[in-house]
C-alpha cells in the first residue's frame, strides 16, 4: 500500500514538473497575441509569424524548429516567394541551406541544423538571381518573425523582402 502511494506521488510530481515546464507565461502571451490563421496547420500556415513561439520543442507543442521564417516579395506586399534559397552560417562556420515553399515559409529542424549563435551571415537568393543579405547578426532567436514584424518601426525593420517595391535592389 505504501509503495502505491509512493509511486502515485512520484507520478504526480513528474506531471507537475512537466506541466510547469510547459507553462511559460511570456511565450503564452506571444502565442495568444498571434492573429488567427485561415490555413489549416501545416507547412503553409501562418507566414510571417514567429514560428518558434509554437515550434519550440516543448512537450505537447508542434515539432521543434531551430530556425524558421518567411520570405516575402517586397516590403509592402505579403506575397511569399516560392523556391527561394536561404543560406545561413553560424559562428562556428557551419552552413545550412533551406528552401521556401509556396507560402514563402522555410523551416529547419534541430536534427538538420542546430546553429551556434550568433548566426553571422544570412543570404536569400531566388529565381532570377535576385538576392538579399541580412546585415545584422542573429543573436539568439531562430524565429525571423520575432523581429521582422509589421509595420516597420523603431523596433522592427518590417517583414523580410527580396526586392524593393519597384523590383529593384533593397536600400
Amino acid at each position: 500500500m505504501r509503495n502505491r502511494v509512493g509511486v502515485g506521488l512520484r507520478v504526480a510530481c513528474a506531471i507537475g514538473v512537466l506541466a510547469s515546464a510547459a507553462c511559460d507565461p511570456v511565450n503564452a502571451d506571444v502565442v495568444s497575441s498571434l492573429p488567427p490563421s485561415n490555413v489549416r496547420n501545416g507547412p503553409l500556415h501562418r507566414p510571417g509569424q514567429p514560428c518558434l513561439a509554437c515550434h519550440d520543442g516543448v512537450i505537447g507543442d508542434p515539432s521543434a524548429f531551430s530556425v524558421a521564417g518567411t520570405i516575402f516579395t517586397t516590403p509592402s506586399e505579403t506575397v511569399g516567394v516560392n523556391g527561394a534559397s536561404v543560406w545561413m552560417t553560424d559562428s562556428n562556420g557551419t552552413t545550412h541551406q533551406a528552401k521556401t515553399n509556396a507560402a514563402g515559409n522555410f523551416y529547419v529542424s534541430p536534427s538538420q541544423w542546430t546553429p551556434v549563435y550568433p548566426i553571422v551571415a544570412v543570404k536569400v537568393t531566388s529565381i532570377g538571381d535576385a538576392s538579399a543579405v541580412m546585415r545584422s547578426e542573429i543573436g539568439r532567436d531562430g524565429a525571423c518573425g520575432s523581429c521582422h514584424t509589421d509595420p516597420p518601426g523603431a523596433d522592427s525593420p518590417g517583414h523580410i523582402a527580396m526586392t524593393a517595391d519597384d523590383g529593384g535592389a533593397l536600400p
Binding site: M88, S131, R135, C147, G153, D155
Partner: protein, 178 residues
C-alpha cells in the same frame, strides 16, 4: 486588531527612514565622455533586436543596427547611433548593477568580471548569446579600458567591423551561397 495598523505603520517607517548606522552607497559612475566608442561596440555585438535591442531586457541597447530610441527612426535609418541613444545605453549599463559598478569604478576598473556586464560576455556566467569576447582581446579591452577610466578607442575600433548599416542589402557578404 491593533496589529493590523501597527505592522503596516512600522513597515512604512522602515521604508522611509535612512539606515541607522549612516552607511550609504557611494555612487561612482564611469565616464560618459568615453562611452560613445563602447556604445558602438555594444550596439553591434549585443544590440540586435532579438538580444539586447529590446525594451524588455534588463540591459537595453539602443543603436543604429537595432532598437531605436526615437519612435520616428528605424533600424539603419538614420545610419548612425544618435547622441540620445548613447546616453540611454550608458544609463542602462550604469544602472544595471549600480553598487557593483560603483565598487569597480572605485577600484579603477580592477576585477571587472565582478560585473554581469563583463562576466556574461566572458562566458563566466550563463549567457544565451554565448561568450562574446575573451580576456585580453579587443572587445574585452574596449569595455574594460572604459571601466578603468581611459577608453582604448583603438581597441574599440578594431573590435567593430564595417558599420553594417552602410553595407548594401545586396552585398558580397553571404551565408555560403555559391
Amino acid at each position: 486588531m491593533k496589529l493590523c495598523f501597527a505592522i503596516p505603520f512600522a513597515a512604512l517607517l522602515g521604508c522611509s527612514a535612512p539606515p541607522s548606522n549612516g552607511v550609504f552607497t557611494e555612487a561612482n559612475a564611469p565616464d560618459l565622455a568615453g562611452y560613445p566608442y563602447v556604445a558602438e561596440y555594444t550596439v553591434h555585438r549585443c544590440g540586435t533586436l532579438d538580444c539586447h535591442g529590446s525594451p524588455y531586457r534588463n540591459l537595453r541597447v539602443y543603436g543604429d543596427e537595432g532598437l531605436r530610441y526615437s519612435r520616428a527612426d528605424r533600424p539603419c535609418v538614420p545610419q548612425q547611433t544618435t547622441g540620445a541613444e548613447v546616453v540611454q545605453d550608458y544609463l542602462s549599463v550604469v544602472g544595471l548593477e549600480p553598487e557593483t559598478m560603483s565598487a569597480v569604478i572605485a577600484d579603477h576598473g580592477a576585477s571587472p568580471e565582478r560585473l554581469t556586464l563583463i562576466a556574461k560576455p566572458l562566458g563566466i556566467e550563463e549567457h544565451k548569446g554565448g561568450a562574446i569576447f575573451k580576456a585580453g582581446d579587443v572587445g574585452y579591452l574596449c569595455m574594460t579600458s572604459w571601466l578603468q577610466g581611459a577608453t582604448d578607442t583603438a581597441a574599440c575600433l578594431a573590435a567593430m567591423p564595417t558599420p553594417i548599416c552602410a553595407l548594401p542589402a545586396q552585398a558580397t557578404v553571404d551565408g555560403g551561397a555559391p
